[in-house]
Symmetry: C2
Subunit: 424 residues, 2 copies
């Protein structure tokens, strides 16, 4: 980790720039995959499975028997943990439902919004180093609460053609209608275009490698919506004199272990906490099974010593972190200072992993500075809000003149006439 | 208008496909414009003004004197109309503010969301055939209500270097901080990249021609968010026996006059209303100043005679119209049938132009079938929702085991350790 002591504000803008990773030019690969799936549909997916996952499947669709078997395999302890997480995530997201409120803007003119689920949604769960069944919970639970009719899930099979049982269990528990053993850009193409097995969806959610990310961008050309733009995961921790260095270090590392491209930023206003946290990171990292990834991530990361908590928030807002941990006294007072962040963790016992798994908040969050202009996934991500209006004859009489004047000034006489013809 | 009498459901999917307009390959042009603005900044904008707008400006920034002059020029009647529209739009959008609700998901674990404005937003208002000051209201009012600190607006100058006074008046009235005389893709590039005069923004809103649309797509590569994908405007009217043919025709035409690429769809369940509406369209269109545009739009449009209102909704949901007008009896009963639509107008006096200008709802809506997966612009479009959580020591004790089990199963031991180290 780089160390900055009281850096000049002139350098902050440069500091908050995210590390630039060489992004390979893969758009031709993605276009080729979409073309292949358009032409050959399921057959293309079988071939991709063979090529990328090293397995020849007989069916892409996960069977009822496989789901049953998964339920038998996984421990009661894990099931219980998943159920507690589900309960909390459900509670938090259910509270995001909004009541219909009718507003009479002018006498006889009533306007309101109603919520409708996006009918068909697709969830992508990557394979790779970690079986992210927690992400199944984070995406399927709000989809089900929203009332999406079709919730499908694609995830790559392992070399034996299987999917991790915890992914199957979580998917079934949270109302996923159908699961498919397809990974990578081809899974995104299949959900965008539809194949014999996989239905077309209207919105695609979920994390993935650079091919998946590029495929989600590409899918938008076909009118499919996506959850949000993607980037490497990150955390920013602000600590004062009462912070516990060992806790701060553990939080920094739990972000760093996500991958070599993760970034962690530590800001302290107290010299002892600053030094001890840096020492604790160096000590704790050695004990991690994934310490190679974490060490790489730490090379992209830095610690800053600043004079005041106010300055720390100023820096944090410029950085716009995905996760922001406030290991500070009197954090309530500072909430209004927060402008840009994905999810905020308050006090010494609110570790990021609580939000990653089980507290109830969503862990699909804007990274890479996107916290300046995007929200994390919520119930809203799975619905549209439709506006409604009713004008009585009296309502149109009260508003008609205004509409006619404005329409005429814009040169839109048919707009004007739609009022005039009703009022005469 | 094409006429379909009782078309088979097998043909509906084909019918709802939007007319495909030849989209020129303009991505190279857009990339060149972005490069030019990156390199030459304001100087590039001056050159583009000369090239595309036929005017050599001394300054891109609209002056205080110009705004004052605009206020003097426009009639009191128009000002009054704009103020009434502003009041209604403000009422409707202010009601979309949500209170903070703290949820205790597990004893000692409290989660909530808080709203923060997107700090810097840019509004694009096209020039061309209609001075869209109504769109200024629709975008600047929620931006100001949301608390956006910087609200800038770009719009092309006319041949004399001026901007329509109603645009200036509406912008000043609704809290636009600064206005700039720049149009087209170069305006989008300037708001994305920043120049000496024009500040960089985090999100760009507003309609435009194919160059503006392509530039907004392109801007996203730089991390800028946009309001929504664009497409030609459209309306679908459902009418039963009590509908008034002259009103239906006026509504169809007020959509058709937007542009040659607009599409209007008329569905009736009553033969008399069906025939009389078609006749009324043919009659009314002759009286319109913009009848060439409207006639072209009608060529892409169609009328459908169906047996039942239920079928009409089935078709409408498949079409997913931007605007949906229900000229039917007992419309309340049918609201739950609506799945996909941008904005809905109820009964014989709720003409679309009410929502376009002054009832209070937003007129920036998803077109081209995007009502399946996108909402229209609302207060939410100008904010992020940040999640917060606080775990007390007891809270972490209640939830810690669940987090540890899940993290271990995902192979993320640093995530687990962030809990373990706090609890031991």
């Amino acid at each position: 980790m780089k160390i900055y002591r009281y850096p000049s504000k002139n350098n902050w803008q440069e500091m908050v720039e995210r590390p630039v990773f060489k992004r390979e030019e893969i758009s031709e690969t993605i276009a080729a995959i979409f073309n292949e799936v358009t032409e050959k549909k399921d057959q293309a997916l079988f071939s991709f499975n063979e090529k990328f996952d090293g397995v020849r499947l007989e069916s892409i669709t996960v069977t009822e028997a496989e789901i049953k078997k998964a339920e038998d395999i996984i421990s009661e302890e894990l099931k219980q943990a998943i159920r507690q997480a589900k309960e909390n995530i459900s509670k938090f997201h259910a509270a995001q439902q909004s009541a219909i409120e009718k507003i009479e803007t002018t006498a006889g003119v009533t306007c309101w919004r109603e919520t409708r689920a996006i009918e068909k949604v697709g969830i992508y769960i990557p394979g790779g180093t970690a079986p992210l069944f927690s992400t199944v919970l984070m995406l399927a639970i709000p989809a089900q609460l929203a009332g999406c009719k079709e919730i499908i899930l694609c995830t790559p099979p392992d070399k034996d053609g299987n999917v991790h049982p915890a992914i199957l269990y979580a998917a079934r528990l949270c109302g996923v209608s159908r699961l498919f053993k397809v990974g990578g850009a081809q899974a995104i193409a299949a959900m965008t275009l539809g194949t014999e097995s996989i239905p077309q969806v209207y919105k695609i959610f979920g994390p993935g490698n650079q091919f998946v990310v590029a495929a989600k961008e590409y899918a938008q050309r076909y009118g499919v919506a996506i959850d949000m733009p993607a980037g490497p995961s990150e955390v920013l921790v602000i600590a004062d004199q009462q912070a516990v260095p060992a806790f701060c270090a553990a939080d920094l590392l739990s972000q760093a272990e996500h991958g070599s491209d993760s970034q962690v930023v530590f800001i302290a206003t107290d010299l002892t906490v600053f030094s001890e946290t840096i020492a604790a990171v160096e000590e704790q990292v050695l004990q991690l099974p994934r310490n190679e990834l974490a060490k790489n991530a730490l090379e992209n990361s830095y610690c800053i010593l600043l004079n005041t908590i106010e300055e720390a928030f100023e820096f944090s807002n410029l950085y716009a972190p995905e996760h922001l941990i406030l290991a500070i006294d009197n954090f309530e007072k500072y909430l209004p200072f927060i402008q840009n962040a994905g999810s905020v963790f308050l006090g010494n016992y609110s570790c990021e992993s609580a939000g990653d798994y089980a507290s109830g908040t969503n862990h699909t969050l804007p990274t890479n500075g996107f916290a300046k202009n995007y929200s994390g996934v919520s119930l809203d991500s799975f619905v549209k809000k439709i506006t409604f209006q009713h004008l009585s004859k009296e309502g149109l009489e009260n508003l008609g003149n205004t509409i006619e004047i404005m329409a005429e000034e814009e040169g839109l006489f048919a707009h004007k006439n739609a009022v005039t013809i009703r009022l005469k």
